[in-house]
């Protein structure tokens, strides 16, 4: 099986990728501004929703229940979607999903498609697979378009181009659209996108989308968006292809009353986003007359089998944890090397890879818990981070390396009081070459990894225990 998460398997370690980004003052300014604005708006609309905690509790309960009976709800969705005229495909991994999609487009002789923003297509690397097969995907979400035309990488789940400011967007658009003149007000840039895409919407015969929710009860799909590009792609083409992770299914139509209250407030700080589209299979005389949906595993079932971290699969991709995260706000999403960045990316990306890649991501956190607090489906991200750090360590222990040997020796020392106290005495003597002005700033060898980013207090002359003993004597 070949699991792919964008190009994350080739990404450098987080700590290394973050360093140059921390020096990019423009990028940090852009990210700080964007996350501040969304965080502020979110706080207002969440604050006024008096039953917020009850909504969160119901949402997480619905998701937990669905995950427990995921086979049942997927089969129910398949049955109802098929009965409504849709075609349901299953893909075990990214390559299989790409193969199905390329085949479908080829069967229609398609040379281009119009795409609604979908993280899942970025996950499977769809655009590269399409281009390798001579099919051109047009990204139609404004931010995705900025990324595509600027040959850049997305840095946020909801606002993928938040690391670019207006002048940077203007340059990208002028070059890619061949415009001689263009203002740099957001209005000018938006109008340029509208004009550029309108013709494509009317002409291209195949649309492609992700899904926010698959409704088992009806076999329907729900897509949440703001610009209307989604509605264009969902209604104008003759053929519509939708990809969704298997965790996107919810039991009933009514469950949307919970998620459609949580998602917009969490994602963009709106009471409701401008457009939600729902459709069920094929509707005669209304919208695409051929509809395909691809249910993607790509590592999700393996996450499901880890009972301590399966809560990761509750995620509704709102991005609130990214905006709240003090680490993300400093480094931007680009440091995570994955299309899933921030706290959710730090737990989702390595798990999709079964911890074979992206092993540094669970450490890209101070465990402050801000992500858990804002999560609309109550994913305890710090708890999962710690669990995954444990998995990384156990993985490394199985291969005999110096750190693992050191840790084993340490655990033996800590087991007996006598050897522990002997080690303390040894440490007090051994530390003196490294102490200056009351701090240990550099340690030799592997211990230097610790002092590279932190200063240590030296071990005190006397331990509490021995001080206590002496005190009792006097």
């Amino acid at each position: 099986m070949s699991i792919r998460v964008g190009q994350a398997s080739e990404a450098p370690p987080f700590q290394k990728a973050a360093l140059p980004l921390l020096d990019d003052t423009q990028l940090r300014k852009n990210v700080r501004h964007a996350t501040n604005v969304i965080t502020r708006k979110r706080a207002v609309v969440v604050g006024e929703q008096q039953d917020w905690q009850q909504l969160r509790a119901s949402a997480s309960a619905i998701k937990e229940h669905t995950l427990r009976h995921l086979d049942h709800y997927l089969e129910q969705f398949e049955k109802n979607c098929t009965a409504a005229g849709g075609h349901v495909h299953w893909a075990a991994d990214a390559d299989e999903a790409n193969r199905i999609i390329v085949d479908l487009i080829r069967q229609h002789g398609g040379k281009e498609i119009i795409k609604v923003k979908t993280m899942t297509s970025d996950e499977i690397g769809l655009n590269r697979a399409l281009e390798a097969n001579g099919i051109h995907p047009h990204e139609t979400d404004l931010a995705d378009m900025i990324i595509q035309l600027g040959h850049d990488k997305p840095s946020h789940i909801v606002v993928p181009a938040l690391h670019k400011n207006r002048q940077q967007v203007r340059e990208i658009f002028m070059q890619a659209m061949g415009l001689k003149e263009l203002g740099d007000r957001p209005e000018d840039l938006t109008t340029a996108a509208r004009n550029y895409l309108r013709e494509k919407f009317l002409k291209v015969k195949i649309g492609f989308s992700g899904a926010n929710y698959l409704i088992a009860e009806t076999g329907g799909v729900c897509v949440v968006e703001s610009e209307g590009n989604g509605r264009m792609c969902l209604t104008l083409p003759d053929t519509l292809i939708t990809i969704a992770g298997i965790e996107k299914v919810i039991p009933t139509f009514r469950d949307l009353e919970v998620f459609l209250q949580l998602l917009p407030r969490s994602a963009t700080g709106e009471r409701m986003n401008p457009y939600n589209s729902l459709w069920t299979g094929v509707h005669k005389g209304e919208g695409p007359q051929e509809f395909h949906v691809i249910l993607l595993d790509n590592g999700r079932t393996r996450i499901l089998s880890d009972h301590e971290s399966r809560q990761t699969l509750r995620c509704i991709r709102c991005g609130a944890c990214q905006n709240a995260c003090p680490v993300y706000r400093q480094t931007s999403g680009l440091a995570y090397g994955s299309i899933y960045a921030g706290p959710i990316g730090a737990i989702l990306t390595p798990q999709l890879f079964d911890m074979q890649h992206a092993q540094t991501l669970p450490y890209a956190s101070s465990l402050c818990g801000a992500c858990y607090e804002v999560c609309p489906v109550k994913i305890n991200i710090p708890e999962v981070l710690i669990h995954l750090r444990g998995r990384v360590v156990r993985e490394q222990q199985s291969s005999a390396n110096l750190e693992a040997l050191g840790m084993k020796a340490m655990s033996r020392i800590f087991l007996s009081r006598r050897s522990f106290e002997a080690a303390q005495r040894l440490g007090r003597i051994g530390q003196w070459p490294f102490v200056s002005d009351g701090w240990v700033r550099h340690l030799p060898g592997m211990l230097g990894n610790w002092t590279a980013v932190r200063d240590l207090r030296p071990m005190p002359k006397q331990t509490f225990r021995s001080w206590w003993q002496e005190r009792k004597k006097t």
Partner: protein, 215 residues
Amino acid sequence: MDQKVTMPETNAREVILDRIRHANADAAPSEYSVIERTYRQKAGMDRAEIQKAFAERLHEYDAHVTEATAETLSAAIAESLRRNNQKSAIVASGFPQQLLPEGFLWQQESSATTEQLNTAEGAICACEVAIAHTGTIVIRNARRLTLLPDRLLCVVYEDQVVETVPEAFARLQPFASEPLTFISGPSATADIEMTRIRGVHGPRFLDVVLVRNSQ
């Protein structure tokens, strides 16, 4: 119409379902019906307050709101079109013909091509339900009609406005398998520096006529 479509040969379906069953093998089953729903479902405001709250939300979204009664509705529609210098509009299928005022060119949605919709002066439709809490209008069918023309006029009756999102879903349940569009203000983006810009791809202008119950 798509008998040509061939499904790729794959056993992914069985593989995925097997993996799920295996992953859930030692988890205790749970009942959907016992999921707690202690969030607010019923309205807390009276009818007048609900109407007021809905109108306020629409104003926040830059929608243009006019009020009418069943008797003055036709005149209100005419007034709304005149204010926008519109001489014509495309009419959603099923919209009551007797409500359309004289003196304008009305074209039926069913006869309109995509190109005609794209260049139309405006569109007119009714809604199924509206939500005061979020300023949302829910429309059945009419997906192209409510998307392509730059100006959309929607008629909302007082009885169609509910306060909460759960109340709206209860009313929508019979139409759960139909194409539904939730509209909360004009098309918008905040993708560039988080500055909210109205009208990216959908209609840039949303007019709403609120029809009060006759006394």
